[in-house]
């Protein structure tokens, strides 16, 4: 065959040419590298599954069917669909189309050993040199370098570089030693290191791919950060907490938009954000808190009902006498300002967090005649309403303790202890006064004009009764303790030793009654406090009922009980001040 005919033979000519030329084609090199990366785990060196060794050209040749090269096992298996049980490689990406073409071409060319040997050898050297390069960089830099597979560029693992825990502290020269692999570095850490960090950073090579940098707890300053930013165009995380950077770091050029910048514990942080309570939202979501007072135990306390029915104490104080109290709002940590009385004559406002007295009022004496305070309330205008029995007046006291206004109450049977029990302001600016001895609820406007009244019907019999039954379930009377105007305009009245709560409308019609035994498994004795919760439920006080009965209950409009309060360890039979704090 002449040279000319050989050349005309096309594929045959190529075969000859390739055989003669030991240097492999670029396609064959790429194929060898790919096979090395994907197949050597099972088909090279000591491990030759199925007897197939792909690290030598001889091994490849054995995989080729001499009679029917195009149908060789070596080619057939890598062209099967991925889900075929015989497909190779069994896991991971398949050979690419161009790699398959290169394999097909090599088989068609008569599976020449020489160029393949060269390609395999070059591939091995390449892998070795890449590994060796990384080891050289590790040694020269003294850094720990972890590799992370790169899904974009095969065999070019991304690098995570840290000096933070390495025995060799960095130097400018060690930082510069990253240069050969700098384009693969995606994370760098100098966290926690002492030394001239700014200087080290200035020695860094360009880091075109770096995303995360840890410099926290190091003495880095704005200068060092500026040097870093010059070299790191795609940063998306920079940790500078507890470093020496200041506010100026926020104005440095080069920090990509949206990057996370951690500045906690630096001057920049202190300047930009006031230290806020990280649990500030706790204050909005406290478990139910309760303000309660019992004269018989001489105790007023702020409780938090963490477990249902088992409150714990946040604050408590002593009192000699108490018929009223008021929660004035949160201060900190579940505590708040509380208005209560220390005696029949003295009312105080205290911050339960500190115990400091913020305001106080002492009822002025009236010659030799006794004056007692049985109700008080801080009003929206900042003044405090104080009801004084004996003097039978309501006084309005300003923040300095001066009485700025007052009006007289109408009392049929004056008594320093019994003129009033609780007085509740209404939303229309009037005051609902429970006149205990008279057994009447009277509503006054601010000038003392009586605008409404309701005589509480005596319970069953006359109010005369034996001493033993003065307070218990058998006590009889109409010594009203409090009256509350509801959102719907009706008025609920605690009838005291009438053992009931009455709801009456403006015309005095009784709308409903909760009598001594109408609540399931509860017996009412001396009814006292009334509170309307935001959900419309009423919290009702029940005194003198003994340790087997709840001291307060929460009921809905249908008279169903939703909550009971019973604590005869801290409180006793005279729980006369009670407020559920809703927040």
């Amino acid at each position: 065959m002449s040279l000319r005919t050989r050349m005309l033979a096309g594929a045959g000519a190529a075969t000859l040419a390739t055989t003669l030329r030991a240097a492999p084609s670029d396609e064959l090199r790429a194929l060898a590298e790919s096979v090395q990366a994907r197949c050597f785990e099972c088909h090279a060196a000591a491990v030759t599954k199925g007897g197939l060794a792909l690290d030598t050209a001889g091994g490849w040749v054995e995989g080729v069917d001499g009679l029917d090269p195009e149908d060789s096992e070596l080619f057939y298996r890598v062209t099967l669909p991925a889900d075929d049980p015989d497909a190779m490689p069994p896991k991971g990406p398949r050979l690419s189309r161009s790699e398959l073409s290169a394999l097909q071409a090599w088989i068609r060319e008569g599976s020449p050993a020489k160029p393949l040997e060269q390609a395999l050898s070059d591939a091995a050297k390449g892998a070795l040199s890449r590994a060796a390069l990384l080891d050289r960089v590790r040694e020269a830099s003294g850094a720990r370098i972890d590799e992370r597979p790169n899904s974009v560029v095969e065999d070019e693992a991304q690098l995570l570089v840290t000096w933070s825990f390495s025995p060799e502290p960095p130097t400018p020269a060690r930082m510069a030693a990253l240069e050969p692999v700098a384009h693969r570095v995606i994370e760098l850490s100098l966290a926690g290191l002492e030394g001239p960090v700014d200087e080290w950073l200035s020695a860094l090579p360009e880091l075109p791919a770096i995303r995360r940098v840890h410099l926290e707890r190091s003495p880095v300053t704005n200068g060092g950060v500026a040097a870093l930013l010059k070299r790191s165009p795609v940063l998306d995380y920079l940790n500078l907490h507890s470093t020496r950077v200041d506010r100026g770091v926020l104005d440095l050029d080069g920090l990509p938009e949206g990057a996370q910048l951690v500045l906690f514990g630096t001057d920049a942080f202190k300047a930009s954000a006031a230290l806020v309570d990280p649990f500030a939202s706790v204050a909005r979501t406290y478990p139910r808190r309760i303000l309660a007072a019992d004269a018989s135990k001489g105790r007023v306390a702020l409780l938090m009902e963490t477990a249902i029915g088992k409150p714990t104490v946040l604050w408590e104080a002593k009192t000699r006498a108490i018929h009223d109290l008021q929660w004035l709002g949160d201060t900190q940590g579940g505590h708040g300002r509380v208005l209560y009385q220390e005696s029949w004559q003295r009312v105080v406002e205290v911050d339960t967090a500190t115990g400091r007295v913020l305001w106080s009022y002492e009822a002025p004496s009236q010659g030799d005649d006794q004056v007692e305070i049985h109700s008080f309330e801080r009003l929206k205008d900042g003044t405090t309403m104080v009801a004084e029995s004996g003097r039978a007046r309501i006084a309005f006291v300003d923040s300095g303790g001066a009485v700025v206004h007052s009006f007289q109450l109408q009392v049929d049977t004056p008594d320093a202890h019994h003129d009033t029990r609780q007085v509740q302001p209404t939303s229309t600016g009037t005051f609902l006064v429970a006149h205990e001895r008279d057994g009447v609820i009277r509503e006054y406007d601010r000038d003392g004009t009586m605008v409404w009244s309701y005589a509480v019907p005596p319970y069953e019999h006359d109010a005369t009764h034996g001493e033993e039954q003065r307070e218990g379930f058998g006590a009889l009377g109409n010594q009203a303790y409090s009256a509350l105007r509801l959102q719907d305009g009706n008025t609920v009245i605690a009838t005291g030793n009438g053992h009931s709560f009455l709801c009456v409308d403006a015309s005095g019609e009784i709308r409903w009654v909760i009598s001594q035994d109408s609540l399931e498994s509860v017996q009412l004795a001396w009814t006292t406090t009334i509170q309307e919760l935001s959900n419309g439920h009423l919290v009702l006080g029940n005194c003198h009922a003994g340790p087997d009965q709840p001291q307060a209950v929460e009921v809905d409009a249908a008279g169903r009980i939703h909550w009971r309060f019973r604590d005869f360890d801290r409180f006793g039979n005279a729980l006369t001040g009670f407020e559920v704090i809703e927040r």
């Binding site: 825990f165 707890r217 995380y237 996370q260 990280p278 706790v282 979501t285 478990p287 249902i308 088992k310």
Partner: protein
């Protein structure tokens, strides 16, 4: 034991350099794990698994099968949840009043309400949660993580365990054992009070140089008969060396005095109730900063009400343990986040199982063990915050929707650390042993960001 060790060395001997810096196949987002172990089994319906219908059933007898330490029962008296739940965060997660501080952090947390384990008995359930099996001898999660990823800091152990002051959990060190892996992969106990690491201090009168010379000589002698083929000896030599390096590194790592007053108060170190657990959480953060891979902190130890095992008075028990841990755990999440470390640190919370909706005894509020359904949560480290996956039935008794075995939790943790849970194996006893067992397990995808 030597036969076991030989078997282990049949594979490429990982013992010769067990704390070797390994290059993992893939580096996940999490580099560290802090596992907050609520020993004894917190009640799910009183903590994070809100069951509004259960309150009204309080005291009523219902037919519902249960399986606890009392064996299998067909029903019992319902104990309604003893705490109210309220909504927190943007996700509106319901959290009980046991956790007012932790409640504020729910947007960082992924709750798994449908966990189940293989045993309702403490000892075996603890091993299940820590080592993947209910029988002893298998390496614990912390060992697997360190085996797979290698140590970041050569001067500190890669795996630290902090116990409750009342004592360790049942089975003690089996819960942080390295099993058939080298001893250098086992958990090292660190204490926040007294001597941080027992038996670490250099003997009196011995200078550093003398000790170095002694260790060098020991290593030389050992090398003569080890021939690099005695894995236990190799592990022991490594322990000596690690201990030597720790003598200088550990005191700095455990020094809480260098923390700011604000930080100490954040963790509740200024309050008697939270002081102890707070110190452990703060120390856990310091260890994370110093490259420790896996830190386990126990809430509760010893017996009875010294841990979360509320058989008697539920309110007393859970008030005690939640009160000690609520603020410190919330503080840990806040502190990790503000220091930019939360996305690299996976925080895991939970016990070995949960508790039943019904009472264990005729009287009282105590609940028996329940491994058929319980709640665990994870935060940080690539976890999707503000999510809740899986459900128990309306009584909180049994996982019914998207049920997850302990293996799935382990698989999730390994996955988030960049390890392949079904690929990470250790050859022992003729088998490629895996934390997730021969059954294998998929990570819980719903909680991964």
């Amino acid at each position: 034991l030597s036969r076991q060790a030989q078997a282990a060395s049949g594979a490429a001997n990982p013992l010769s350099d067990a704390a070797r810096p390994v290059t993992p196949k893939a580096l996940g987002r999490a580099k560290h794990v802090i596992f907050l172990f609520m020993y004894g089994g917190p009640s799910q319906v009183d903590t994070f698994d809100y069951k509004p219908d259960l309150y009204a059933l309080d005291g009523k007898t219902i037919d519902i099968p249960t399986f606890g330490r009392q064996g299998k029962r067909g029903g019992g008296r319902v104990v309604g949840p003893k705490w109210r739940f309220r909504q927190y965060g943007e996700c509106g997660k319901y959290v009980s009043d046991l956790f007012p501080h932790l409640g504020t952090q729910v947007d960082k947390i992924a709750f798994i309400h449908s966990m189940y384990a293989e045993s309702p008995i403490h000892g075996s359930a603890l091993l299940n949660m820590n080592c993947g099996r209910i029988v002893s001898g298998h390496p614990s999660l912390g060992s697997w993580v360190n085996y797979g990823l290698g140590s970041l800091n050569q001067d500190l152990p890669g795996y630290v365990v902090m116990l409750d002051e009342s004592g360790g959990p049942i089975s003690g060190a089996k819960n942080w054992t390295s099993g058939y892996m080298p001893a250098s992969l086992q958990g090292v106990q660190v204490r926040t009070e007294g001597t941080p690491i027992l038996a670490l201090k250099r003997p009196e009168g011995m200078a550093g140089r003398t000790q170095r010379a002694l260790l060098d000589h020991l290593a030389e002698e050992n090398a003569r008969h080890a021939h690099g083929q005695n894995p236990e000896l190799a592990a022991r030599i490594q322990q000596y060396e690690l201990a030597y390096r720790m003598q200088s590194a550990a005191p700095e790592a455990v020094d809480l005095a260098s923390e700011s007053e604000e930080t100490k108060a954040l963790y509740g170190l200024d309050r008697e109730e939270t002081r102890r657990f707070g110190a452990k959480c703060l120390l856990a953060r310091r260890l994370v900063e110093r490259g420790v891979r896996f830190i386990q902190v126990y809430s509760g130890g010893g017996h009875n009400d010294d841990n979360w095992d509320a058989h008697g008075d539920l309110v007393f028990n859970h008030t005690r343990h939640a009160g000690r841990t609520d603020r410190p755990i919330a503080a840990l999440l806040v502190d990790l986040e503000r220091r930019g470390l939360l996305d690299e640190t996976l925080v895991v919370w939970g016990g070995e199982f949960g508790r039943q909706p019904t009472a264990e005894y005729e009287k009282g509020t105590g609940r028996d063990h329940n491994s058929w359904g319980f709640t665990m949560w994870m935060a940080g480290g690539g976890v999707r915050g503000g999510t809740s996956v899986g459900q128990t039935d309306e009584l909180g008794s049994k996982a019914v929707e998207d049920r997850f075995h302990v293996r799935n939790l382990h698989a999730t943790i390994l996955h988030l650390m960049g390890l392949d849970p079904n690929g990470l194996s250790y050859f022992f006893g003729g088998l490629d042993q895996k934390l997730v067992g021969v059954e294998g397990a998929e990570p819980i995808r719903q909680v991964i960001a």
